[in-house]
C-alpha cells in the first residue's frame, strides 16, 4: 500500500540503513581462524593427521607415541601463543590508529617494545661486563625465561611513564612524540651495549630475540601470558563506544560527552598491556599491528569499532597462525625468522589490497 503510493508519486521510499554487525563476515573470520589453528597443529617438521591430533587433544593415545609430545607440548602452546599475540597486536594497533588518528600508528608507537628491547639488551649484552652475573653465560641459562622477565620489566617501566603522561598531557600527539623519543633513547642505549659487548654470541642472542618467535612460550608461561592478554582485550572491548566517538577527533568526542582524558588513559593502558605482553613473550613482532586493522577496514568498508574490534581480533590471530606456519617450513626442520616472514608475506598482500580496493575508498587520511 505504502509502496504503491510511492510508486504513484514517482519517488522511492527511503530505505534507512541499519548498523548491522556484519555477522556473516565475522563468522567467516572465525572459521578461517579455526582452520589456521588446526593447520598449525597438523603441519610442522612431521605431519600429524588431523584425526590423530583430535585423539591427542582428547587425551587418547595416537598411532605414534612421540606425536603426543609434539602436539601437546610444542604445537598447541605455540598455536595458542600465536592466536593470542596476533589478536592482541591487531587490537592494540587499531586502538593506536584511532586514538592518534594516524594510519601509520602501530602497537609500539608508545615505546613499549623499545622498553622491552632495552630490558633484553641489558640482560643479554651486559652480563659479561658485570662479572658476577657470569652464571648467565652458561649458555643454557640464557634462556627464554630470563629474557621474558627482562622484557616485561622494560615494557612495564615505559608503560608507567606513558600512563603518567597520559593523565596530564592535553593532546594525544604529545604521547606519540614521547613514545618516539623513548624509542630513540632505548635504541641509542642498545647500540652502546652492542658496541661494547664482549662476546659476539651475546649479540647474536639479542638479534635472535629481535627476530620474534611464538615457539618459546611454555605452558607455564602461558599461565601469565594468556590472562594478561585477556585483561587487555576486555578493556579494549569495553572501550568500543569511546573509540567510535574518537573517530571524529578529541574535540568532537568531548562535545559528545566523552571524558577524553579518562578514555585515553584506558586505551593506552590496554594497548600497552597487549603490546608489552606480546613483546615480552614473543619478541618485537612487527607488521601485524599496523597491517591487520587496515586490512579489516578495507575488507569490511567500515570504521565502526563494533565491527572492527572483533574482526581485527579474529583476523589478527589468523594472520599470526598462518605466518608462523610458513616460518616453520612444513616438512623441514629449518625455522625462518618470524619477523622476516611476516613482512615478506604481509607487505605484498597489503600493497595488493590497497591498490585493488574500489575507487573512492582513499586512504585513511584522505
Amino acid at each position: 500500500m505504502l509502496q504503491e503510493r510511492h510508486l504513484a508519486e514517482g519517488t522511492n521510499p527511503v530505505i534507512w540503513p541499519h548498523l548491522g554487525l556484519r555477522p556473516v563476515a565475522l563468522l567467516l573470520f572465525a572459521l578461517l581462524l579455526a582452520g589456521a589453528f588446526s593447520l598449525n597443529l597438523v603441519l610442522g617438521s612431521v605431519t600429524v593427521p588431523l584425526d590423530q591430533v583430535l585423539l591427542i587433544l582428547t587425551g587418547q593415545t595416537p598411532e605414534h607415541a612421540p606425536w603426543t609430545t609434539i602436539v601437546r607440548d610444542f604445537r598447541l602452546p605455540k598455536a595458542l601463543t600465536a592466536t593470542l599475540a596476533g589478536s592482541a597486536l591487531g587490537v592494540a594497533g587499531l586502538q593506536m590508529q584511532t586514538l592518534f588518528r594516524n594510519p601509520l600508528a602501530d602497537p609500539f608507537v608508545l615505546g613499549v617494545s623499545a622498553g622491552a628491547s632495552l630490558g633484553v639488551a641489558l640482560v643479554v649484552l651486559s652480563v659479561g661486563v658485570v662479572g658476577g652475573a657470569s652464571m648467565f653465560a652458561v649458555s643454557g641459562w640464557l634462556n627464554q625465561m630470563s629474557l621474558t622477565v627482562a622484557a616485561s620489566v622494560g615494557a612495564a617501566l615505559v608503560l608507567g611513564v606513558v600512563l603518567l603522561l597520559a593523565r596530564h598531557v592535553q593532546q594525544s600527539v604529545t604521547l606519540l612524540i614521547v613514545g618516539l623519543m623513548i624509542g630513540y633513547l632505548t635504541s641509542a642505549l642498545v647500540s652502546l651495549l652492542v658496541a661494547f659487548a664482549v662476546a659476539p654470541e651475546r649479540v647474536q642472542a639479542y638479534i635472535v630475540w629481535n627476530f620474534g618467535s611464538f615457539g618459546g612460550v611454555t605452558w607455564q608461561q602461558l599461565q601469565v601470558f594468556a590472562p594478561t592478554i585477556l585483561i587487555g582485550m576486555v578493556i579494549a572491548f569495553a572501550l568500543t563506544k569511546s573509540l567510535n566517538a574518537l573517530l571524529l577527533g578529541e574535540s568532537y568526542a568531548r562535545s559528545m560527552g566523552l571524558r577524553v582524558t579518562h578514555s585515553r588513559f584506558w586505551i593506552v593502558t590496554s594497548a600497552s598491556l597487549l603490546a608489552g605482553a606480546v613483546t615480552a613473550f614473543c619478541g618485537p613482532i612487527a607488521f601485524l599491528g599496523i597491517a591487520v586493522p587496515h586490512f579489516c577496514r578495507t575488507l569490511l568498508a567500515t570504521a565502526d569499532h563494533r565491527v572492527l574490534l572483533p574482526s581485527v581480533t579474529l583476523l589478527g590471530a589468523t594472520c599470526a597462525l598462518l605466518v608462523d606456519l610458513v616460518a616453520q617450513l612444513p616438512g623441514h626442520t629449518l625455522v625462518l625468522p618470524l619477523n622476516a616472514v611476516m613482512s615478506l608475506v604481509g607487505a605484498p598482500v597489503v600493497i595488493w589490497v590497497l591498490l585493488h580496493r574500489p575507487a573512492g575508498q582513499a586512504s585513511m587520511d584522505r
Binding site: V14, W16, P17, H18, L19, R101, A238, T240, K241, N244, A245, L247, L248, G249, S251, Y252, R254, S255, M256, G257, L258, R259, R297, T298, A301, T302, A303, D304, R306, G360, Q361, A362, M364, D365, R366
Partner: protein
C-alpha cells in the same frame, strides 16, 4: 518580551590561565543571554577571542571567573554526558573518519544517550532519521562521508549535532569553506532550525552580509573585550557596527550595510544617470576606491554621464573641458584611474565630498597598514 533566557552568563570572565603568571583575560564582565528560538551570530575582527568565547560558553574551556548557566544550571557542575545532551557543536576542524557512512556518522550524535556499546534503540534511529531529514540529507544516508562535497559535509555534521537533541547548538564558522549559494542555503537552514524549535543556535562567522540578513541577534565582539548585543539593525543605528570595525582599515557604510575600504582622500566624482546603470556604475566606482556624488559639486572634478546608445550603454567622462567616451565599466574605471595617476588632485577634506564616508581615518599605532595606503594600492 522574553522572561528568562535559556543560557545566561553571570559576570563571565574568559581567557587563559597561565601557570605562575596572571591569567590572560580575553573578555570580562560578560552578561550575555540566549533565548530559545533565536539565531545568534557572533561577529568580530580576527583574533579577538570569538573562539574563546564559544569554547567557554560550551564548557570546553573553564571560565576564569563567573559562570555560564544553561537552564539555570552551572555548566561547570554538569557531568560531560548531561552537558552533551544539552549542548552540541559543529567545529571548524576537518573531520576525517575514514570509511564511515553518513548514517553511522550522524548516529554518533546519539553517543550521550546510548548504552555502553553504543547500540541504537528504535527511538535513537528515529531521531537520527529526523536529523537527516531536517538538513535535507536523507539521500546521502548510504554514502561514505569522505566522498561528500564541503557543503554536504557541513549539512551532515549539522545533522550529527542535531541528533544530540541540544538546547543550544554552537557552530564555529560554519560558512567558512562554502561557496555563496551554499552559505545562503546553510544560513537559511540554520534560521529555520532555530525558529522551529525549543533550541537556539549560536554561530561565529566573518560573513557580515549574511549575518545581517539572517541573524535574530548579533553579538559584536570588540577589541576592548566587550560584546555589543542586539538585533542587527539596532547595532547599525546605534553605531556599534561602525565603531567595532573602523580600526580595521575598513569603513562600515550604514546606508548599504556593507563595508568599504577607506577611500576618504580621493576627490569625489559626480555621476549623472538613473536606474540600474547608475546603481552599478556607483558600485564599480566605489569598488575602485572612488567616492561618488550624485549632485554637481564644486569638489567633484570629474563628471560622468550615462547615455543609452544603439549598441548598449556608453559613459561620457568630462574633466576640465575634455570629454572621453567609453563603452564598458571596466574601461571607465581604468580611464579614471589613469587620470588620477597622471594628475593627482590634492587631498580634500573628506567630509566635504562624501558625507556618508566621513569617518576620521586615524589608525591605532600598532597597525601600520593604514587606510590611505590601502586605497592608493588599489
Amino acid at each position: 518580551m522574553h522572561t528568562q533566557g535559556m543560557l545566561t552568563t553571570q559576570d563571565l570572565c574568559i581567557g587563559y590561565a597561565v601557570r605562575k603568571r596572571p591569567p590572560r583575560i580575553v573578555a570580562a564582565n560578560l552578561e550575555l543571554t540566549i533565548h530559545a528560538g533565536d539565531l545568534i551570530c557572533l561577529l568580530g575582527p580576527n583574533g579577538i577571542g570569538k573562539s574563546t568565547l564559544l569554547r567557554t560558553i560550551t564548557g570546553m574551556q573553564p571560565t576564569l571567573s563567573g559562570a555560564v548557566l544553561l537552564d539555570g544550571v552551572d555548566l561547570a557542575t554538569l557531568a560531560p554526558r548531561d552537558l552533551a545532551r544539552r549542548l552540541s557543536l559543529v567545529l571548524t576542524e576537518r573531520v576525517d573518519v575514514g570509511q564511515l557512512s553518513v548514517y553511522a556518522l550522524v548516529s554518533l550524535g546519539r553517543h550521550p544517550y546510548t548504552d555502553w556499546l553504543g547500540r541504537l534503540t528504535p527511538q535513537d534511529e528515529h531521531i537520527v532519521q529526523q536529523s537527516l531529514e531536517a538538513v535535507d540529507a536523507v539521500s546521502l544516508a548510504h554514502r561514505p562521508f569522505h566522498q561528500l562535497s564541503d557543503g554536504e559535509r557541513q549539512r551532515v555534521l549539522l545533522a550529527r549535532a542535531l541528533a544530540q537533541q541540544p538546547r543550544l547548538l554552537v557552530l564555529d564558522e560554519p560558512t567558512a569553506f562554502l561557496d555563496l549559494p551554499r552559505r545562503i542555503a546553510l544560513m537559511h537552514l540554520l534560521r529555520q532550525l532555530a525558529h522551529s524549535g525549543e533550541r537556539a543556535i549560536l554561530l561565529s562567522t566573518h560573513d557580515l552580509d549574511l549575518a545581517l540578513r539572517y541573524a535574530d541577534v548579533l553579538w559584536l565582539m570588540q577589541r576592548a573585550g566587550t560584546v555589543h548585543v542586539g538585533a542587527p539593525e539596532d547595532l547599525i543605528l546605534n553605531g556599534a557596527f561602525a565603531t567595532t570595525f573602523h580600526h580595521e582599515g575598513v569603513i562600515f557604510d550604514p546606508a548599504t550595510g556593507a563595508f568599504q575600504v577607506n577611500a576618504a582622500t580621493t576627490a569625489p566624482v559626480c555621476l549623472r544617470g538613473q536606474g540600474l546603470p547608475a546603481h552599478w556604475t556607483t558600485h564599480a566606482l566605489e569598488r575602485a576606491g572612488f567616492c561618488v556624488v550624485r549632485q554637481p559639486d564644486t569638489s567633484a572634478d570629474v563628471v560622468i554621464d550615462i547615455t543609452p546608445g544603439d549598441h548598449g550603454l556608453t559613459w561620457g567622462i568630462s574633466q576640465a573641458g575634455q570629454t572621453y567616451t567609453v563603452s564598458s565599466l571596466y574601461d571607465l574605471v581604468a580611464l579614471l584611474r589613469a587620470m588620477r595617476a597622471n594628475a593627482p588632485t590634492p587631498p580634500q577634506s573628506p567630509s566635504a565630498g562624501c558625507p556618508e564616508l566621513s569617518y576620521p581615518s586615524h589608525q591605532p599605532p600598532d597597525e601600520p597598514a593604514s587606510a590611505q595606503s590601502t586605497a592608493e594600492y588599489r
